[in-house]
Symmetry: C2
Subunit: 151 residues, 2 copies
Amino acid sequence: MNVKHVNAICRATETILESHFGIKVTPLKPSAGNSPIPSNHVSVILGINGQLNGQIICSFSEHTAKAIVGVMMGGIEIEKLDDLSWSAVQEFGNWVAGTTATELSKEECIIDVTPPIVNEGISKYHSSKTFITIPLDTRIGPIEVHISVTE
Amino acid sequence: MNVKHVNAICRATETILESHFGIKVTPLKPSAGNSPIPSNHVSVILGINGQLNGQIICSFSEHTAKAIVGVMMGGIEIEKLDDLSWSAVQEFGNWVAGTTATELSKEECIIDVTPPIVNEGISKYHSSKTFITIPLDTRIGPIEVHISVTE
């Protein structure tokens, strides 16, 4: 994977959290491998086609999902993730998708991103392709960005 | 969703199972809705971009996954889904992806399909977009094809 592309994808999620949510993000040490990716209770899956092909998966805890939805709904406290909340998590994915396409276009890389789909539950993602995982530390809990794209 | 596209996508999975696996497929009554989609223990996610955008998710039980892998490996019995098996399930997804693109091109619909990713575990997929679910009855167990694509 091209480090410029990985950085651009990662920058997209950071930008959303910092500029839209006002949440400071500290990227921690990335890791790479072929081990299964834990879904971490809530995961947003984006499919990438175009000059790159693959997936971006953002995963976080139920607690962090509630915090994201709460901020999106104007600062309210979310007690339970209902249908409206899941729709907001999907919309968060849409923001990440749009910003990812923009950040990659700055690197002269044109992609299409699928509408996001949100997975709820404890599960694992298997792929024979390498994933790079970038953990983001935030005050609403850790958010992991898993990236697997090939040219 | 255009019924021609849904039929083409569904035909792709049927074709793979019948011609590559020699497994007779009986499509059961489709359903449509916005309810969460159960992952059914093993699910293969394909992202679609191009003239259509969305996802195809094929879900089945662990038992059916073992049977699919067993057939792919030349008719052996699979006791446990190990790394090699997950890679075979992903390859099954690749076959479905390729055949889906071919079947849709016959309807003059050109798409790109992401490399498949395989989810293991009991989880649910949330989307505000409508999914059409086509249950396929086979001797190796039920396989559900969930389709959500928009033009």
